[in-house]
Structure formats: C-alpha cells, structure tokens
C-alpha cells in the first residue's frame, strides 16, 4: 500500500512538473526570441495589474484555446481526426515516466528511487514512446482531408523514421560504454571519475561524437526549426492546418513536451542526469582531497536541482538554435539523416566496440 502511494505521488509529481515546464516554455520561447530579436515580447496579459513579465500569457492562451470553436472539416475522418492530438500529447508525456529525476532517497528506512517507473528497459521504453508520437502527426495529416496537411503528414512520417534510427544508433555507444539500458543505473554509472578523479565519467566525455549525433537527431525529433518540415509554416502551414482550439493547442503542447523530453534525455544520457560533480552518496569528495559530509536529503535535493538545471540549459540551447537557423528542405533533410548521420553513427558503434574489446572489459 505504502509502495503504491509512493509510486502514485512520484508519477503525479513527475507529470505535474513536466506539464508545467512545458506550459512555461510557451513563455520562455516568447521571451527568449524577443531578447534575441531586440524586441520586448509578450507583456500585456495581467491579473489585477500584475504582469509578471508576461508570464500570464501562457494562461491566457490556454483559456483562449479552450473557449474556441472546434472545427472538423467536411470529408475528414472524424474518429482519427479527433484522436490524433491526444496520441501526440500522450506519447510525449508517457516517456517521462522512465526518466530519473533524482537519486536514491531514504525515508524512514525506505529506499525510494526518484523515477516514476523503475524499468530495467527504460531507454527502450522511452524510444518506443517517442516513436509512437509520429502516429499523431501522420493521422492528423491524413485524416484532415487537406492537401497541405497531407504533405505535412508525409514529411513528418519520413522525417521521424529517418531520425529515429540515427538517434537509436547514436546512443548505442553510450549503452556499450555503460553496459546498461536502465536509466537509473546509467546515471549511477556516470558517477565514476576519470583522469585521476578530476573528470566525471559523463556520457559527453566518453562518447562526444555520439552526443553530437544524438543532439542533431533529437532536435529533428522535436520537429522544430531547422527541422520543422512537417510544420513549415511558411510553405505548407503544417499537418495541423485544419485543427482549431485546444486540439491545435495539444499539438503545440506535444512539441514543447517533446522539447523537454529531449532535453531531459540529453541531460540523463550525456551529462550525468542527477549527478553533481564530486558529490557522492555521503557528501562531496573533491579530487584535491577535500571532503564535505552531507546527509542523504540535501544530497538528493542537490541531485534533483542539478538535473533540472541541466534540462533548463538544454532547453535554452534548443530554443537558441530554433531562433537562429533557417529550415532544411525535405530532400536535404533526408540526405543529412540517411547519408551522413546514420553512417557516422554506425562507424561510431564499430569504433566503440573495437576500443572496448581492446581495453578488455
């Protein structure tokens, strides 16, 4: 009973936090782009005269979308048309279940892993869920009975398949080095140190190439500029062209949730997840010999903070990329995915395998 309650609190908490981060991202996106473009950005919505730097715009947007008329075009497949946005959001959110947001918390002798679902195949689960997300895009495009949406759905399907494979191949290197696909174990493994204890054994330091590949493929996965072909707002408007109201909002939300998910994955796989440099289960052990003892609770809190700090950093970076680069073209995207990224990731796997064998582990 107690375990069930803890699980429930953990999953509710994860969902709540991730949902809110995604909602907040609409504001972050607006403000960050405004800063980058010499603008002021959203600053009008207010509650009792409080503006909070335009943060209420996210709230106002949701209210607007909820109160808007929902339009289903004539000739659309009503069932598929209605179910598509839910598929998009659901699969994007479910992935968070397997992301560890912190280390091992000990409460009254109970050991709790701060991870909603303690799966030993967590990584594969997340990838499966991310792949399922493409159904939302494809179904929306094909069920709308609109040529623009159709083009968007087609592009979306091709893009997701092309980059899913690269993404999978890119993290193979990490899996081989750390020898696990359990996310919590992966995080713990990154708590080791190299170079005489100075350099944390994070994914980025042992597999830099794999990180670059994963970053590119994952950006493509979020369907944002420069990979926003399924949307391509100035060319084909996008697979969601016929959607209105909150159903459109759900596609938008799914995009942002995926951004958070990808940022979380990058933090977990390549930047040690909840690891803080030199922080061990009982406090800091500095490479120059210093030691600072800490209780379990502050260590765990530091870990959680470290995880969210890394996630925020990646979100910031993804946004900066999004507001800087122009968009690829369909065939250029396919070339990049199949002819450049995939071969490099395969070579990376081979080289990693050879090195690991030679090192005799």
């Amino acid at each position: 009973m107690n375990d069930l309650l803890i699980k429930f609190i953990l999953s509710a908490g994860t969902l709540f936090i991730m949902f809110n981060i995604a909602g907040l991202l609409t504001w972050v996106e607006r403000k960050q782009s405004a800063v980058m473009q010499d603008r002021i950005g959203a600053n009008r919505a207010s509650i009792f005269g409080m503006k909070a730097m335009g943060m209420f715009h996210a709230l106002a947007d949701v209210l607007k979308m909820l109160s808007k008329e929902e339009f289903i075009p004539e000739g659309a497949n009503k069932f598929l048309f209605n179910i598509a946005p839910y598929l998009s959001v659901t699969f994007a959110l479910v992935g968070f279940a397997a992301i560890p947001i912190g280390g091992e918390l000990v409460l009254n002798g109970h050991s709790i892993q701060l991870q909603a679902a303690n799966l030993n195949i967590a990584l594969i689960f997340i990838f499966a869920m991310m792949s399922m997300g493409v159904y939302g895009v494809v179904l929306a495009g094909f069920s709308s009975n609109n040529n623009y949406a159709f083009l968007g759905g087609m592009r979306g399907a091709a893009q997701m398949i092309a980059y899913e494979i690269t993404m999978g191949a890119a993290i193979m290197g990490v899996i081989m080095v750390f020898n696990t696909i359990d996310m919590q174990a992966l995080d713990r493994a990154q708590g080791a140190y190299m170079l005489g204890g100075w350099l944390p054994k994070w994914g980025i330091f042992v597999q830099p190439l794999s990180f670059l590949l994963f970053f590119t493929a994952a950006t493509a996965e979020t369907k944002r500029t420069p990979f926003d072909l399924p949307e391509g707002e100035s060319e084909i408007i996008g697979y969601f062209v016929e959607y209105s109201g909150m159903k459109f909002g759900m596609f938008f939300l799914a995009d942002l949730v995926e951004t958070v998910l990808v940022a979380a994955l990058m933090a977990t796989l390549f930047f040690g997840g909840w690891q803080v440099p030199y922080l061990h289960a009982d406090g800091f052990y500095f490479p120059w010999g210093g030691h600072m003892a800490m209780a379990n609770l502050p260590v765990v809190i530091l870990g959680v903070l470290s995880f969210f700090f890394k996630v925020a950093l990646f979100i910031w970076f993804l946004m900066a990329v999004r507001w800087t680069l122009p968009r690829f073209r369909y065939d250029q995207l396919m070339n990049l995915g199949w002819k450049i990224l995939l071969p490099i990731s395969l070579i990376n796997i081979a080289v990693t395998a050879v090195v690991i064998t030679l090192l005799g582990r």
């Binding site: 782009s33 980058m36 473009q37 010499d38 603008r39 040529n147 623009y148 083009l151 500029t225 420069p226 926003d228 072909l229 391509g232 707002e233 100035s234 060319e235 084909i236 408007i237 507001w323 800087t324 680069l325 122009p326 968009r327 690829f328 073209r329 369909y330 065939d331 250029q332």
Partner: protein
Amino acid sequence: MTQTRSMLLNVGPSHPAMHGVIRMIMELDGEKIKGVDIEMGYLHRAFEKMCETVMYTQCFPYTDRLNYVSPLINNVGFALTVEKLLGIDIPERAKYIRVIMSEISRVTDHLTCVGASAMELGAMSVFLYMIKAREFLWELVEEITGARLTISYVRIGGVKADLTKGFADKAFGKIADVRKVLIEADELLSRNRIFIDRMKNIGKISAEDAIAYGVTGPFLRATGVAYDVRKSNPYLIYDKLDFEVPVGSTGDNLDRYFVRMAEMEQSLRIIEQCFQQIPDGPIAGDLSGVVIPAAQMVDRAKMGQTEDLIEDEVNLDPTLQGSTRKYHDAINANKKDVVLPAKENTYGNIEGLMNHFKLVMYGHGIKPPIGEVYFPVEGANGELGFYIVSDGRDHPWRVRVHPPCFPIMAALPKCLIGDMMADLVPTFGSVNMIAGELDR
C-alpha cells in the same frame, strides 16, 4: 504498373508565403513542382484609369500605392516623366534630395525583400533585424517628409520640403547603424550552410530567358547582365556619382540575395556621396524675419495689412514644413505654371494666391503640351517606367506603368518548375513581388 496522379495544390491568395495577394495553382508530383499557373489581379485598383481622371499633381498619392515598400521612387519616377513632358529642369539641390530619398527607399525595399525571404526559410531573427534597420531609415524619411508609408513627397518641378537642420549628421549615424545590421545579417546568412543549400541552384533562370521575358532589376543582374537604368540612362545626378552595379553569374536565388546585399551597400555609398556633393541650401534656417502663424498671416492679408508681410516668414503645420519661401527656390523649379508658390506668397499676397488657385482649381492646373513621353527610373525591383500621353488638358489622357514585378512574375514558372514545393518560398521571396505594383 501502378498509376500515379499529380496533386493540385492551391497556394494563395491567402497563404503565409504569398505576401500580397496572388494565387498559384501548383501541380505537384510528391514534392516536385510539375506545373505552375499564376493568377494575379487580386489587388487591381485601376491605378492607370484613376490617374486619367485627376490632375497631374493629384496622381502622386496613387503612385505611393504602387510599390508601397519604396514609394519615394514611384514619386520620383512620375515627377520625372511629367517634367520631361513639360520640358523643365529642376534645381540641383532638389535633384540631390530626390536621389537621397530614392536610395533610402531602395535600401528599405531590399531589406524587406531579403528579410522576408529569410523569414520564410525559417530564420525569423534575420527578418526582425532587417525590419529594425528599415525602421532606422524610415525615421529619416519621416523626418523629411512627415510620413512613413504613403509619402507623396515629390512634386512636379521639385520636392515638397527641404532637408531639416542637421539631417546629414543624423543620416550618417543611421547609415552606420544600418551597416551594422547588414554585417550581422551577412554573418547569419551568407556562410550559413543551410541557407546556402536552400538558395543555391534554386529558381535558376538564364540571362537569355530573363531578357526575353523583359525582366529587369536585381533579378536580371543576378544572371550576369549589368543593366541598370541609373547607369545606362542616367537621370537626375546619377552620372556624377560613383557606384557599381553588382552582378551575379548563375541567376539563382543565392545570386539574387548577394546582388541585393551588395546593392544596399552601393545605395548607402550613394547617399553618403550625395551629402558630400549637395549644393548648399538654406538648411541653416536663419530666422531673420518675423515668424507668424499661418492663420494670422492670412487674416492680415485679408484685411489689407500687407505692408511688411513680404518680409515675414510663416509658421506652418508639420505636414508643410520646409516649403516656405526661404527653402522654396532651392528645391523647386522656377516655373510659375507648374510649381505652387511659396506659402508666404499664397497667404500674404494676391498674386501668390491666384497662382496657387490656378494650379489647384479644377479645370486649370498644370497643362503640359500635347505629346507622349516615357521615362524609366531604376526602381528597387527593376525598371519602373511611366508612359504618359497628354492632350493638352489638365489631366493625362493616358497613363501606363511598366511595373518591374510584372515580367518577373511572368518568368516565375520558368524558375519554379522542376524544383521542390519548399523551393517555392525562397524563389518567390527573391522576386519581391509587391502586389500594389503588380496589379496596379
């Protein structure tokens, strides 16, 4: 064998990439464009017919609405055409002012074009940087003309108002700011691999085809033909200025982008040279006479108290500032049957008032001799020509515009067919189609 059918896609008239209203019916094979049918005319306002119903001076507001991104060039083109018909020459200072204003407009036009095509490729930030630069220049335009969009600044025989005090310094400051933005945009785009991949070898047109279609402007120059009206048929004072005509070689989107970027730099150079060469006018604004409000001057003149009125200067509302007697002669031709008198004369003495009425009253106005005339200027998108037939009355018998966009739009299917659907956006963006000019 499987049968494939091509898909018809109706792009526009309301579509994010169709700035202005135009409709393209595309025949797609997957993403490849197999056929394009361009349908224009959504913004037809009967410009030419309207001009034939009003007096010559009243045509200027209509010309503002042709290419509304660079209205001053249209103003200048129409004024030069009527002046050629009348056979008058304008003061040197007015010529320089016209050139300065034309070149500022050319830069704003190119900024809009390059920025918009970058935005449509997804580089939203570049667009906003360029709009910021355009804002700097429009502030200059606003200071002189009092308006930003529909300017109507140029008059037959001169310009409406003289430059303000300290304008040159302000302009140099703004030019430096614009240069900074151009460098920034250049850094963001010119060596950006994605941008180059999207632009290179896309929307190609050969020099022969471009000439056959009658294409002019940056679109033609990108194919390697160095045709620029400012060089081949210099008007105003362009023969005294040192500038280059940038040309491309392949006639693709990337060349058009580079030509436009280089032309902006040349235009800024022209503006700087103009400020160095411009003959002195009374921009210092020494107010030796008594300055009285316009209404007071009119009242005194009505009551016959005209003794010292000839010495006084009138204080005008902002829309007319710069057109008082002190500035009048330096910026307007000395032709009483064409140019409105200085405001002091209109308000203060009967000769000036009658002169004014003779020019603005219906049935009087400017009456050019019988004849027909064509005069081209270099618009931002190419050769902008006005053709006017006069039958000796106060309004034109026939007006015809040669809009630079029109031949380019006719040649556009040649650029588009064979490319991909996504290439429509940069190719169409590089045309810089302005519906007001295209549909007239």
